[in-house]
C-alpha cells in the first residue's frame, strides 16, 4: 500500500485527489470573489464618518426563537447599542430569500428616538425605513445574505445629527 504522500510536494495523494474534486465541484464562486475584491473600495471610504452600533445580543447565538403567535414562523432578534441609543431589531423571513426587519430605537432612558432613518445595507444596495413617533420602524424586502444596520437620527429641523453603523452580519 502506498503511503499516499505526493512525491514533489509532500501532500498525500488522497488530499490532492480531494483537492481536485473540490476544485471541480465546489470552487469558490466567481461572484463571491468579485464581492470580496470590491469590499474594500465600497466600505473603507465611510468607516471614519460613522459611529459604531455595538452588538449586544443575537438570538441566533441563544438557540431557536419562535414567535408563538404565528406558529412556526421564525424570528431572529438582535440588539445593538450606540452612544445614547439602543436598537432592537427583529428579522422575520417572509418569502424565499427575503426578510421583514422591524424594531424600535430607544434612548438609554427608554424614550423613543426623536426621528431618523433605519437603513439595512446589503450586497446590492440598501433598504430604508423611517422611525415613527414611538421609535418603531419596519423595513420590508431585505434580501438574505450579508447586511449591516445603519441608523441616522435627525433633529426636528431634519438635520442628521448622528450616523451609526453595525458590523456586517448574515441574515
Amino acid at each position: 500500500m502506498s503511503t499516499g504522500a505526493g512525491a514533489s510536494t509532500g501532500i498525500p495523494e488522497e488530499l490532492r485527489s480531494l483537492g481536485r474534486l473540490f476544485r471541480r465541484t465546489d470552487p469558490t464562486p466567481e461572484r463571491a470573489i468579485s464581492v470580496a475584491y470590491g469590499a474594500a473600495r465600497r466600505l473603507v471610504r465611510e468607516r471614519d464618518s460613522v459611529g459604531v452600533l455595538e452588538p449586544l445580543g443575537d438570538s441566533a447565538f441563544r438557540g431557536r426563537a419562535v414567535d408563538e403567535s404565528r406558529g412556526a414562523a421564525e424570528v431572529r432578534t438582535l440588539s445593538f447599542a450606540a452612544p445614547g441609543r439602543l436598537v432592537e431589531l427583529e428579522l422575520r423571513q417572509t418569502r424565499q430569500g427575503r426578510f421583514l426587519a422591524r424594531g424600535i430605537v430607544l434612548s438609554r432612558a427608554g424614550q423613543p428616538s426623536p426621528s431618523g432613518t433605519v437603513i439595512l445595507r446589503h450586497g446590492r444596495g440598501e433598504c430604508r425605513g423611517e422611525l415613527d413617533g414611538c421609535g418603531g420602524f419596519a423595513v420590508a424586502g431585505v434580501p438574505a445574505g450579508p447586511i449591516c444596520l445603519r441608523l441616522h437620527t435627525r433633529r426636528a429641523d431634519g438635520l442628521v445629527t448622528h450616523r451609526t453603523s453595525s458590523d456586517w452580519f448574515v441574515c
Binding site: G4, L15, R16, L21, D26, T28, R31, A39, A40, L43
Partner: protein, 197 residues
C-alpha cells in the same frame, strides 16, 4: 510558504493598503481565499450559505482592517470570522450539519460532459465522495480545508477549526487512514495510488 514569509508578505500588503493600493487588497483576497472558502464550506450546509458567510467575512475585514495592526493576525482573524459567521448563520437558518460530498456532487452535477467521460469521472468521484461522506464530521472539516488550501499553515487550520495546532498532524493522519480504508472497502484500489477525479 513559511509562517515568516507569509507574515512578512502580509505586512507589505498592509502597508500598501494603508496608502490606498487597491491591488494589495486583491492580493490579500487571493492569498487567503482558499483557506477562507475551506472554512466557510466546512461549517456551512450548502454553497449558498457558504457564499453568504464568505461575503460577510470580507466585508467585515474591509471595515475592521484599520484596527488590525499585526500582520500575523490577519489570516487568523479571517478564518476565525469565517467560522463564526458560518456557525451563526447555520443557527439562524436552522441548518443541519454540513453535507458530505455526495450531496455536493448532486448539487453541482456537470451536464456538459459526454456520457462516457461523465460516467468514468462520476464513478471515481462517487467512490471518493462516498468514502469522504462516511468520515466523521470533524475529519470532513479538516480534510476539506487541507484539500482546498494546501498552503495553509497548521496555525491557520487550527484557528479555522478551533483545534490545537499540535493535534492537527495526528488527526490528519487518522482521517487519511480512515479515508483509505473506506475507499479500499468500496473496491477502489486506485484510491491509494491517487484518484483521477
Amino acid at each position: 510558504m513559511t509562517e515568516r514569509e507569509r507574515s512578512c508578505g502580509t505586512a507589505v500588503l498592509l502597508s500598501r493598503l494603508a496608502v490606498g493600493d487597491e491591488r494589495a487588497w486583491r492580493d490579500l483576497v487571493d492569498r487567503n481565499s482558499g483557506v477562507v472558502w475551506g472554512a466557510v464550506r466546512a461549517y456551512s450546509a450548502n454553497r449558498a450559505d457558504a457564499e453568504d458567510a464568505w461575503q460577510a467575512t470580507w466585508l467585515l475585514l474591509a471595515e475592521n482592517l484599520h484596527r488590525l495592526r499585526d500582520p500575523e493576525g490577519v489570516s487568523a482573524w479571517l478564518v476565525t470570522t469565517a467560522r463564526r459567521e458560518s456557525m451563526r448563520l447555520a443557527r439562524a437558518r436552522r441548518r443541519e450539519s454540513p453535507s458530505g460530498l455526495a450531496g455536493l456532487l448532486a448539487e453541482t452535477a456537470d451536464s456538459s460532459e459526454t456520457p462516457e467521460s461523465s460516467a468514468m469521472r462520476s464513478l471515481s468521484a462517487a467512490r471518493m465522495a462516498q468514502a469522504f461522506a462516511q468520515l466523521s464530521h470533524r475529519c470532513q472539516q479538516l480534510l476539506r480545508i487541507m484539500a482546498v488550501a494546501p498552503d495553509a499553515s497548521y496555525e491557520q487550520i487550527g484557528t479555522a477549526l478551533g483545534m490545537a495546532r499540535g493535534s492537527i498532524g495526528p488527526k490528519k493522519q487518522r482521517c487519511l487512514r480512515a479515508l483509505r480504508l473506506r475507499m479500499l472497502a468500496s473496491g477502489s484500489p486506485e484510491a491509494v495510488e491517487g484518484v483521477a477525479v
